[in-house]
């Protein structure tokens, strides 16, 4: 009897713990939406921030976030997939490969602020660029590469071996087998990895505050020539992102509605992360279904 009572108590405890986990997520998201959603409006999303009075927006920050994300993915996806191909298809099991795998593991667990500091040293100070969107994107690339490499490698490895053999047996080269047979089949996995990476990059602040900077330089949203200094597309200007802005206005905001701005931006950030997450789920499922079609 004693054992049975203990079993019941234990089950109850586990259920409570699980409920706690759900409560934390629901409470967190609910709180952020309750605080932030009322503040989100078209004006808020598109207006520039105010300096001392209430009513400013997060327009430039939102644009910078998207632009940094775009540049980051532009750098991360090809290099990450390249590394994934190397590890899945070319790497042997010698000391160099083991060293490489350790290096990727180390990079993936480095605190983002350390990556940010490295970026500050190399992309801000040594290059003499100062705080730039490009520097931020490069730092974020370093931060996200391990995840991209790992998901690409797994996706390529999960392609059935008989696909590769079929191609090689036709006298097709290893490289063309990779690009024309393995990569298309690995696409759902790679896309999922890329979207998850993007979600992480969108919310990252510590790696960006010392690289892309904590101020948004003056931009002219009518000038789209990336080489012109006032253009929003100029990657060599400093660009505070949404996540960095949340940190800045919460800790040193001068405007009277700093808390509301941070709340609105936080809610927006969480919504974007949720969307990325759902997108990754559905897109990979859809791609997978589309690729395996209906056999039988």
């Amino acid at each position: 009897m004693n054992a049975k009572i203990a079993d019941r108590i234990a089950t109850a405890v586990f259920v409570l713990i699980a409920l706690l986990l759900v409560f934390i997520l629901v409470g967190l998201v609910g709180y952020l939406m309750w605080r932030g959603l009322p503040h989100i409006s078209w004006h808020f999303l598109t207006s520039p921030p105010a300096f001392s009075e209430a009513g400013g927006g997060i327009g430039p920050q939102l644009f910078n976030s998207i632009y940094v994300l775009f540049l980051t993915m532009l750098l991360t996806v090809p290099i990450g997939v390249g590394g994934g191909i190397f590890l899945a298809e070319y790497a042997g099991d010698g000391w160099l490969t083991r060293f490489l795998r350790s290096a990727i593991e180390v990079l993936s667990s480095l605190p983002s602020i350390v990556v940010g500091l490295f970026g500050l040293l190399v992309f801000v100070q040594y290059t003499g660029w100062g705080y730039t969107i490009l520097g931020g994107a490069l730092a974020l690339m370093l931060f996200n590469l391990p995840l991209m490499v790992r998901t690409s490698e797994e996706a390529i490895r999960s392609v059935p071996r008989d696909q590769k053999e079929a191609s090689l047996a036709l006298g097709v080269s290893h490289w063309r087998t990779i690009t024309s047979v393995l990569l298309p089949s690995a696409l759902p996995g790679i896309v999922t990895g890329a979207i998850l990476t993007a979600g992480r990059a969108f919310g990252e602040a510590a790696a960006l505050m010392f690289t892309a900077g904590m101020s948004s330089s003056r931009v002219d949203f009518t000038d789209w020539n990336p080489f012109s200094p006032l253009s929003p597309l100029n990657p060599m200007r400093s660009g505070e992102t949404l996540a960095v802005n949340i940190w800045k206005v919460s800790s040193e905001g001068l405007v009277p509605d700093a808390r509301e701005i941070a709340a609105g931006a936080s809610a927006l950030l969480v919504i974007v992360v949720l969307v990325f997450n759902l997108l990754a789920r559905f897109l990979s499922r859809w791609l997978y279904k589309k690729m395996t079609a209906s056999s039988s």
Binding site: K164, A166, L168, L170, G171, A293, S295
Partner: protein
Amino acid sequence: MDCVSEVLSGEATHQPRWFGSLGAPQALQERLAERAQDVPAVKAETDVAIETRDLHVYYGKNHALKGINITFYKNEITALIGPSGCGKSTYLRSLNRMNDTIPTAKTTGHILLNGEDLNRPDIDVWALRKRVGMVFQRPNPFNKSIYENIAFAPRFHGIKKKSTLDDVVEEALRRAALWDEVKDRLHESAFALSGGQQQRLCIARALAIEPDVLLLDEPAAALDPISTAKIEELLLDLKKRYTVIIVTHNMQQAARISDRTAFFYEGELIEYNPTHKLFTNPDKQATEDYVSGRFG
């Protein structure tokens, strides 16, 4: 080990037991006898398609094939039979150097195609595999349309013109007796085909690069009887153009379609003879025991 001693001590009987269990033993026996005239024990040098001399394959320390000498003749079907793990698939895979894709595999000896040794390190394996095509046990079409499945390898091997490619695809599908079934849906996914159609697609894919020799590794093992019958019929047709080498687990299949049969056991070639001889009057006791179903 029990079965080995049984093999070695078993008595020879001239009426293999499995004949009794076949659906139409009389017909099959007649067919074997009828073909006996067409298949002389040895043919002229000019009829040789591919041969191996003293071929050894090692997987790490495992000596998988021990000095195999077989001469395959043009426009014949040769069956490789033997119990699981006897080395017949390894042997087949060594003929187009697919064992190269396994890092621990090592092959020594000679594989002569038109007198040229294929087992030299400097041989161009792409060109070699183009001349020695391969079809696998499980149908493994690419994750592409029916058309692309076939056009993929010819395009790699240098056919750029759309009209030529169209011809190559049609010709390959016709030879694989699949054209009439798929000509209206060439651009649909290959995965939408039935298992038997997929396997014929894989054969068409191998034929599209115009090989001299076609290797098939238990091509009907995953198929239903009707699809199997279609494949067998197809192979009998294909031998008019190609040299066909087929690994099979199914002795009745070997008896039905092959001109010559090689019996492998524990990495060695036990017997290689015209099929009618090997099945009705084998030279070796072990062969007798295997084809009569005493082990395997």
